[in-house]
Each structure stands twice: as structure tokens, then as C-alpha cells.
């Protein structure tokens, strides 16, 4: 028993079924080696079609300018920045699962971390499009970078939250990518060594960087993952904090609040986990991975959803309270006249229903473990979180300090919507390719927890416990007597 570490029998197994190491490899690599199903092709082509529509929408915006969108002088951010914040928020769950849950030693992360990290990378890719194309003259996007230029050199303003965003998002993308890919190396080597065709052997051979599984390499790899997790934990919190600074450091009523950083981070985790649920529920069904992404995993994520949903709800109520308590007329007008009532009141109440009220159903264990209900809720939460950003941006902007700049009711154009649909296309195209060409579950990490948390090993452990209980008690008894003798001697 020296090798296997003790794991409580009260926790349910993380891997169902009587699996050996070989079967784990077989089950997961099978998704790469088998021909994709018809469903995969349909999904992939629909995604590519959406992506094409998005590309055309962006082409119109680049050619004819921001006027292709219905954003106007007061509602300058509209759908575009709403989508940006929404995608960045979704991009938070992957790193949360892989980094923070690694530091907290949550074993269940092993089943979902690979796909969640991939989701993070794709979501951040989508998010980045929006501020870049919102610049209008997108070919000058590189002006945000501090490089020695012929204009002085004129530097970007390092005191500006919008520039902080540039640094935060690009750092987040780079670090997530490195974390994800360094974790992939051993699994790509597994695929390489099982390759039955020359092309696959060559490509995975290149991609796996010549990984051999040497003990020294594993030792360094473990250390690398741990430090990257330690770096990513404050990073993931900082990114949405900085995104919230875009709003919080302004003087716009409804934005200028100190609660924004924690409130945005909780909201990001909330929406991110909802998206992970959506993808995992499809993935486990289509790829036949129910043994690895179990109901236990789904329940654990639903618990995170109900927790963060409640934090977000608490933040909404705090905002209302502070608006009243501050006695600032502008704040009070924004919240009580133009947000919960007024022409955009419907979006506020939609947000409240989706984000605060409906997730409370997850207090029931039966519902937390119901696959269909979880799937519906995951989509409801993401709709709610999109409307949260819409409410924050539009309802604060359409009634400015100056009534002369108050705007009429804002509706997006088809190209504004098309850009958003296009990022869905990009996201799902990437995700479909990922699910076909990469191991969607971290093979090595599953093998690592298999002997302690796999179903059959847990059963072995419990019989062992029962058998040796008398012996165990005797040992304890002896130790106590020794201790007692020592006390007497002192």
C-alpha cells in the first residue's frame, strides 16, 4: 500500500468502470483515430458557414467604417464591447479549472481541464476581435504597442485602462496557450506512438517535440505546471479586473463603482462554467466519454455555478443599494429610472431572471445531476450573462449627463449581429477541430488519478479497509500505550 495514496470512500469515483491504463489511452485516443461522425461534420460545416458570414460582416465594417453598425455618439460601445466582455468572461473558466483547482487539489478537474483550457483559448481569440475591429481603422491596431516609432517616438498612455486591457488580454492568451500546450506534449506523444498512418506519425511526432516520458522530464514538467498554475491564478483574476477597470475608472454613472472588479470576476467564472457545461455535455455524449466526464463532474461544476451566481446576484443588489445610499441623483436616476425601468427595463429583468433566480434551482441535488436540465440552464446562464454586459453598457450610456446627447432606442444592424455570429463560427470551428485532432481529455492526468479514484480501485480499497480494521485498531492502541509510557517518564 506504499504507492497508492488513501482517498476517502465518501467521494465518488472520478473514472467510472473497471479501467486499466491501456483502456484509458484507447478510450481517449479513439476520438482522434476514429472517423468523425455525421453529427461532427454537420456541426463543423454550420460553424464554418457562420464564420464566413462573420468574415463578410467584418469586411463590410472595415471597408465602409463603423457606420455599418448602429452604435452612435452616446452608445459608442453597443453590441461590440458587450460581446468582448462576454467572450472574455467565458474565457475565464478554463484557467480557473486548470490553475486554481490544481492549487486547491481538486481531483475532478482532470476530466474537464483539457477541453476547458481549449475553450479558454478560443474564447479569448473571439474576444480579441471586438476591440480590435472597434478601432475602425483596424490596420492601425499596432499603434497600441509601445514600439519606437517615427512619430516622436510617441508612446501609448500607460495610465489608460484601455491599454491595460491590451496587455492583460495578450498576456492571458499567451500564458493560457503555453499552459495548455505544455500539458498537451505527453498526450500528443501518446497519440504519436499509437499512430497507424505515416502522416499521423509525422505530424504528431513534430507536435510532441520528441517527448519520451523520461522521469526527469516528468519531474520538471510537474514543477512547470505547478508554477504556471501559480502564475495563472492571479492572472485570471487580474484579467477580468482590468476589463472591469475599463468601466470602473470612468465617471459614467452605473460604471463608476468599486464593486466592479470582484463582481466581474465572479460573473466571468459563472458564465465560463456555464459554457464549459454546454460543451462538456455535448462532448461526453458525442465522443462517448461518460466514464471520464461523470455526473460527479457535472454536479461539481453546477455547485460552482450556483455559488458564483449568488455572488453576482449579491453584487446586483449591492449596486442598487449603493445608488440609493449614496444619494447621488445621477446614480439614482440610472439605476431606478433607466435600468430597472425605462425602455431597457426588459433586459434588466431578463438578466435578473437568468443569472440570479434560475441558478438557485441548483440547490436541489436531483437537478444538479440532471443532464438535460443542466444543459438548458447552461444556455440560460450564458444568455443572462450576455444581457448583464448589455445592461451595463447600454443602460448607462443612453442617458448621459447632458440630455441633449440622450440617444434614441438602440438596435444593432445585421452586420453588428453578423460579427457576433461570426465569432460563434470561429469558436466552434476551432472547437470541432480540437475535438477531432487533440486528446480532449488529459490522458496522463487521468492515469495519474486512476489508481486512487477509479471505480474499481476504490472498491478494492474499501474491502481492504474492512479486512484490516482490527489490525489498524491494535496498532493505534499500541501507539497510545507507548505515548502514555512516555508521559509517565516525563
Amino acid at each position: 500500500m506504499s504507492v497508492t495514496k488513501y482517498e476517502s470512500q465518501l467521494r465518488e469515483p472520478l473514472v467510472n468502470g473497471d479501467k486499466t491504463y491501456g483502456q484509458v489511452t484507447q478510450d481517449i485516443v479513439n476520438t482522434i483515430e476514429a472517423k468523425p461522425t455525421r453529427l461532427w461534420y454537420i456541426g463543423f460545416y454550420v460553424s464554418v458557414a457562420l464564420l464566413m458570414f462573420g468574415v463578410y460582416s467584418v469586411y463590410r465594417e472595415v471597408t465602409y467604417g463603423i457606420g455599418q453598425w448602429n452604435v452612435n455618439r452616446t452608445i459608442g460601445w453597443g453590441w461590440d464591447i458587450t460581446n468582448f466582455v462576454w467572450w472574455v468572461g467565458i474565457g475565464h473558466a478554463g484557467t480557473l479549472i486548470s490553475a486554481i483547482l490544481l492549487l486547491f487539489r481538486q481531483g475532478w478537474r482532470t476530466g474537464v481541464n483539457r477541453a476547458a483550457e481549449a475553450m479558454t483559448i478560443f474564447a479569448v481569440m473571439c474576444a480579441g476581435q471586438f476591440p480590435i475591429f472597434h478601432m475602425g481603422r483596424v490596420w492601425m491596431a499596432f499603434f497600441t504597442l509601445p514600439y519606437p516609432n517615427t512619430r516622436g517616438p510617441l508612446w501609448p498612455n500607460f495610465n489608460s485602462p484601455l491599454l491595460w486591457d491590451v496587455f492583460a488580454i495578450s498576456t492571458y492568451f499567451t500564458v493560457s496557450l503555453l499552459f495548455w500546450y505544455s500539458g498537451l506534449l505527453p498526450d500528443l506523444a501518446t497519440v504519436r506512438d499509437r499512430a497507424k498512418t505515416k502522416l499521423r506519425k509525422h505530424l504528431y511526432g513534430v507536435a510532441s517535440f520528441g517527448w519520451s516520458g523520461s522521469t526527469k522530464h516528468w519531474q520538471r514538467h510537474e514543477s512547470l505546471s505547478l508554477v504556471l498554475a501559480g502564475l495563472s491564478t492571479p492572472l485570471v483574476l487580474s484579467v477580468h479586473t482590468i476589463v472591469s477597470f475599463d468601466f470602473a475608472t470612468s465617471v459614467v454613472p452605473g460604471w463608476h463603482t468599486t464593486i466592479f472588479p470582484p463582481y466581474f470576476v465572479a460573473g466571468a467564472i459563472f458564465s465560463g462554467f456555464a459554457m464549459v457545461q454546454t460543451l462538456m455535455l455535448i462532448l461526453r455524449k458525442v465522443m462517448n466519454l461518460q466514464d471520464y466526464i461523470t455526473l460527479g463532474h457535472i454536479e461539481a461544476m453546477n455547485k460552482v455555478i450556483v455559488l458564483t451566481g449568488s455572488i453576482v446576484g449579491c453584487a446586483y443588489l449591492t449596486e442598487l443599494f449603493m445608488a440609493w445610499y449614496s444619494q447621488v441623483p445621477f446614480e439614482q436616476d440610472i439605476f431606478f429610472k433607466y435600468r430597472i425601468a425605462g425602455p431597457y427595463g426588459w433586459s434588466y429583468w431578463l438578466m435578473m431572471t437568468c443569472n440570479v433566480i434560475s441558478p438557485q434551482l441548483f440547490w436541489f441535488r436531483k437537478l444538479r445531476r440532471n443532464v438535460l436540465f443542466t444543459f438548458i440552464m447552461s444556455i440560460v446562464v450564458n444568455i443572462g450573462m450576455w444581457f448583464e454586459r448589455f445592461v451595463i453598457i447600454v443602460s448607462s450610456l443612453y442617458r448621459d449627463y447632458l440630455p441633449s446627447s440622450w440617444s434614441i432606442y438602440y438596435r444593432p444592424t445585421i452586420w453588428e449581429v453578423g460579427f457576433y455570429l461570426g465569432t460563434f463560427g470561429l469558436f466552434f470551428t476551432c472547437f470541432f477541430l480540437f475535438s477531432k485532432y487533440f486528446p480532449v481529455i488529459a490522458i496522463a492526468e487521468i492515469k495519474y488519478v486512476l489508481k486512487t479514484t477509479g471505480e474499481s480501485y476504490k472498491n478494492d480499497m474499501s474491502t481492504l479497509e474492512n479486512k484490516e480494521v482490527d489490525e489498524f485498531v491494535h496498532e493505534m492502541h499500541d501507539h497510545h500505550e507507548e505515548g502514555a509510557v512516555k508521559v509517565v517518564h516525563h
Partner: protein, 194 residues
């Protein structure tokens, strides 16, 4: 290419592997390496490998990031192009915290990954000799280097007694070279296990 002779033994279970490792060490044989499909905790200690200090590299790279960010922004805003922003101080340290933090994390992460690839000698198109195709699947592959005085047959039976299966001798290149896996390694065949 410096070719060397190795004796290779495969283990199916960690419970057999660990006692075998200490037996091999006691007998005085020299490990080339043990290849495992996943990180086996405690194996590095059992083999007598020293701890890695890759995290120190991460710290140093992080410090480089911090100092670069702070000195650069200070130089830009106080020396190169001071801008009067509402009479606020040019040296606006609190406002630089976000960028300083991001640069620290970025440099530490990128630097550490590059260090990892360098010290492990991992890169695209790198080719190594793999002693067993199932080392990345479900076998723990122990490789022992044969010196001039090593009795090969004795070592083989020693490993077999310690619980190793499929014990064999291989002559192979120790390091890595630029190569292609599809040209230099056999394709996978379904194993004949019951």
C-alpha cells in the same frame, strides 16, 4: 552518433516498479532512465534524482519582467515624453501596477516554458530513440546502461527476477537528433493481449 548498449525491462504496475528500483540501486547498476506514461510521484526520489530548480528560472524571468516594465514606463513618462495629464504626477506608479503585473507574469511564463524546452531538449522535429512504444501508453520502461564491466545476462535475469517483463538488450543513440518519426519508427500494430 555515440551508440550505447542498454538493458530494457518493462513493468506494468507501480507496486512492482518501486521495489525493483530500490533493488537495482542497491545492486549498483546505473539507471539510464525510467520512461513512464504519466508522472509517478516519488519515482524521482527513488531513483536518486535531485530536485528540479526550474521554478528559480521562473522567478528570475519574472523579476526581469517587473524591472523592464517599471523602468520603461518611468523612462517614457518622466524622461522621454512627459505629458501633463491634469497636473497629475508623471511618475504614476499606482496606475502602472496592472501593466507591471502582466509583464511579470508574461516574462515568467514564457521564460519558464522556454527554459523547460531547453533543459529537456524538446523541440519540433527532435527525434529520440524510444525503448518501448508502450512507454507513453501503459508500461513503465526501466532502462539500465551497460558499462564495460556489466554482465549483460546477469543484469537481464536480475531485472526479470525483480518483476520486469519483456527484458531485452538494445543498442541505441543516447541523445536526440533532427529526424522524422514516420521514417525512423515503426507504425503501431494492435497488441495481442487477451
Amino acid at each position: 552518433m555515440a551508440l550505447k548498449k542498454f538493458v530494457v525491462g518493462c513493468f506494468e504496475d507501480e507496486k512492482v516498479l518501486f521495489p525493483a528500483v530500490s533493488k537495482v540501486r542497491k545492486a549498483g547498476y546505473k539507471f539510464h532512465d525510467i520512461y513512464t506514461p504519466f508522472p509517478v510521484h516519488g519515482l524521482d526520489k527513488a531513483m536518486g534524482l535531485r530536485d528540479t530548480s526550474i521554478h528559480t528560472a521562473g522567478f528570475l524571468f519574472g523579476m526581469i519582467g517587473t524591472t523592464t516594465a517599471v523602468t520603461f514606463m518611468t523612462w517614457v513618462f518622466t524622461k522621454d515624453w512627459p505629458v501633463n495629464i491634469g497636473g497629475k504626477p508623471n511618475f504614476a506608479l499606482p496606475a502602472w501596477i496592472p501593466i507591471t503585473f502582466e509583464m511579470t507574469v508574461l516574462c515568467a511564463a514564457v521564460g519558464m516554458v522556454l527554459t523547460f524546452c531547453y533543459i529537456c531538449q524538446l523541440a519540433p522535429f527532435v527525434k529520440r530513440h524510444h525503448f518501448h512504444p508502450r512507454a507513453t501508453d501503459d508500461l513503465f520502461v526501466m532502462v539500465i546502461e551497460c558499462g564495460e564491466k556489466t554482465n549483460e545476462e546477469e543484469l537481464k535475469s536480475f531485472l526479470a527476477n525483480a518483476g520486469a517483463q519483456d527484458v531485452q538488450t538494445q543498442v541505441a543513440e543516447e541523445g536526440w537528433w533532427i529526424g522524422r518519426y514516420d521514417q525512423e519508427q515503426e507504425l503501431y500494430k494492435e497488441p495481442n493481449i487477451a
